[in-house]
């Protein structure tokens, strides 16, 4: 095997790669030297996440949504990493406000705007800072971002336990990676 085609040495547990995978999708594999794989993971996961934002707007990432499904989906979306928390923080601070006589922050409606964190009547020709998505467009946007989080959880586990894929590749057809790890003890050597 030449140096150009060398595969990263599989080890049982790589905490740094796991941590990097949680910070930025694909970064864990990139750190381990599996650069092409890291790039494909990043394109797939970030493509889904930013695709969801493009389709449904910023309202698809909302940990304080009035919709129960969107609030629950945020738990899954969170696995994309700090990007999600930054988007949510911008959403909560810039695009929601508290109206007079209401306790919960909400999005401004047409004819309203946000000034100093409070919902106020808009001036002539002034539009709300954003429009929340509704119906299927909202559902599909939430689904894109949720899938991105779930897939990054898989990528995180793969970066954290790199020997699992190597073991699956070395195992006889029809047996699982966990069987192979249990049988060989270490994960089966080269990929």
């Amino acid at each position: 095997m030449t140096a150009a085609h060398a595969q990263p040495e599989p080890v049982g547990f790589d905490a740094i790669a796991g941590g990097l995978a949680l910070v930025l999708p694909g970064a864990g594999h990139f750190y381990r030297g599996d650069r092409r794989r890291g790039v494909f993971i990043a394109i797939g996961i970030l493509g889904l996440f930013f695709g969801g934002l493009l389709i449904g707007g910023v309202s698809v990432v909302d940990r304080r949504s009035e919709r129960h499904e969107t609030r629950l989906s945020f738990i899954g979306q969170a696995f994309v990493g700090p990007t999600v928390f930054v988007v949510d923080a911008i959403h909560q601070s810039r695009f929601k406000g508290v109206a007079e006589g209401e306790a919960r922050p909400r999005h401004p409606l047409p004819g309203e705007t946000i000034r100093g964190g409070r919902i106020q009547p808009a001036m002539q020709g002034e539009s709300p800072p954003m429009r929340p998505s509704l119906g299927k467009v909202n559902e599909i946007g939430v689904l894109y971002c949720l899938l991105a989080g779930m897939l990054n959880f898989i990528a995180f586990l793969d970066a954290l336990f790199p020997s699992m894929r190597a073991a699956a590749a070395a195992a006889p057809k029809g047996t699982g990676a966990i069987d192979a790890v249990l049988r060989t003890g270490s994960g089966g050597g080269t990929a």
Binding site: F40, R131, L147, A169
Partner: protein
């Protein structure tokens, strides 16, 4: 003028406002299948030699699976259910 109509005529700002895709929402499932297959196969395949072929196959499987599920639910709600539990007036 309804709230939906007012919002639809306002200028579109990418990543802030939603796409006006209510009529072709189903087409958005195609990039979803592609990106999902890209991320999943990048983790799953042992060597990347046949990566794009695997991505193509999985994307197709997802799309066919969703179409089949949609057809199955259509059959159940529009044909089977009305026969099992007929609703007068419908």
């Amino acid at each position: 003028m309804s709230m939906l109509t007012v919002w639809a005529v306002l200028a579109y700002r990418p990543f802030l406002d939603p796409l006006d895709a209510h009529r072709f929402w189903w087409a958005l499932l195609l990039p979803l299948a592609l990106f999902t297959a890209m991320a999943y196969k990048a983790v799953r395949v042992p060597v990347l030699d046949r990566y794009w072929r695997q991505v193509g196959i999985m994307s197709l499987q997802i799309v066919i699976g969703m179409v089949a599920l949609g057809f199955a639910f259509y059959l159940f709600t529009q044909i089977i259910l009305p026969r099992v539990l007929p609703m007068p007036g419908l």
